[in-house]
Symmetry: C2
Subunit: 214 residues, 2 copies
DNA sequence: CGTACGGTGTTACTAGCGGTAACCGAAGTA
DNA sequence: TACTTCGGTTACCGCTAGTAACACCGTACG
């Protein structure tokens, strides 16, 4: 009977948890990363202690929220990354998927990338702020794995793949962040430029000799 | 007489300002980005309102502090970037300089990269949190300028250079961040791997055909 | 029928943050 | 001596994250 009772309770708890997460989602979508626990509780129609009973602390809630979106984004990226196409096409498709995602919901994206942990809540320290941007790390690791699986890099391939995974993800992230703020070109142009960079066009280009007015 | 008096005052104010900045530096170096205004004031041997008289708000102080280190780092990078050597050498030297800098003072580096602005001080909004990581942006723009000056990219070179500038800086940043946390390899190896990536080794590598157990 | 109990929820609080108003005392000047 | 001005402090505001203590409500058990 203990099990059945616990099942009931857990079901109810899970439903509540999902409701709370959706409320938190709405608030984050509206207020950005600085959404307060009070605001989230109000949006959910309850008060703070309930949030704390469900998620422990703000880091817990943020982690749960981040995991959701992170998983969704990673699924999309995996699909683009594993498609049966040639490498350049896959790379461009992945970049495109990422950019489309961050463009579709910038607030969520900013929340995932810059959780803005102050950790000023007294002496308890902050657990989640330690890993500054879990999404970036996870994307880096996954990309590394795909590279190592599908590209022949010779000796030391694992190390190399990991460096490249994190490097490429960082490139994508920074360029996307900048692009999202300034919109200096179309999405397709950005994708092509980045792919060109990865394809060694920087190394292949010649030195510029005749500067302006020289 | 107004001018002379103001000079005296301004000299004194500048000295104070430098003292305060150095105190703030010490605290940030010790406590990381979540250093509080109280702590900084205490370290400087004064009280909060003086800090606010000098820097306006926390964003102002952080901006002043960041500008200092940012300028120093950018100077080093410019030196490496403008050296009279071939491109690959310059790229490796620049990466090396950056990694050495973030390794030397990780706390300062984390402060510069993740200012963690909550902007929760009432209704006044937050000015500095708007641009999340000014250092990255500045590095991206500077690199873009150097690329555009020295590399012949054909038509659309300015756009391309800017995308590459921000992309490369992001690559460097993400890889450095990951490397600083996990230390999976030596600094020289990291530099070489990243340069290899920029030199198109990803595109040049062949597909892996015989996976493990396949 | 009454009673003790676990779960759900609230109010009211602590401690610390960024930021500010109002006061205080020591200089210089008429 | 009286008045202003500047460096500095105390004491406060409104906000945050997080918590302790209490209240309600259905249910099992004597």
């Amino acid at each position: 009977m203990d099990t059945t009772q616990r099942t009931d309770q857990q079901r109810s708890a899970d439903r509540r948890r999902r409701e709370l997460l959706e409320a938190a989602d709405r608030v984050v979508l509206r207020d950005g990363p600085q959404a307060s626990m009070n605001a989230i509780a109000a949006e959910a129609g309850i008060t703070k202690p309930i949030l704390y009973r469900h998620f422990g602390d703000k880091g817990g809630l943020y982690a749960a929220l981040a995991t959701r979106h992170t998983d969704a984004l990673l699924d999309s990226l995996r699909a683009a990354l594993d498609a049966p196409a040639d490498r350049r096409e896959r790379v461009e498709s992945t970049l495109d998927t990422y950019l489309a995602a961050i463009e579709a919901r910038p607030q969520v994206y900013r929340f995932l990338m810059h959780p803005s942990e102050g950790g000023q809540g007294g002496d308890h320290g902050f657990d989640v702020g330690k890993h500054s941007a879990p999404l970036l790390r996870r994307m880096g690791e996954e990309l590394a794995q795909v590279i190592e699986e599908r590209v022949d890099l010779g000796p030391g391939s694992q190390q190399l793949a990991r460096v490249w995974g994190h490097g490429i993800v960082g490139m994508m992230h920074a360029a996307g962040d900048w692009w999202l703020g300034e919109r200096p070109c179309s999405q397709a142009e950005l994708v092509r430029s980045l792919a060109d960079l990865l394809w060694g066009r920087l190394a292949a280009a010649g030195d510029r000799v005749g500067g302006p007015g020289f």
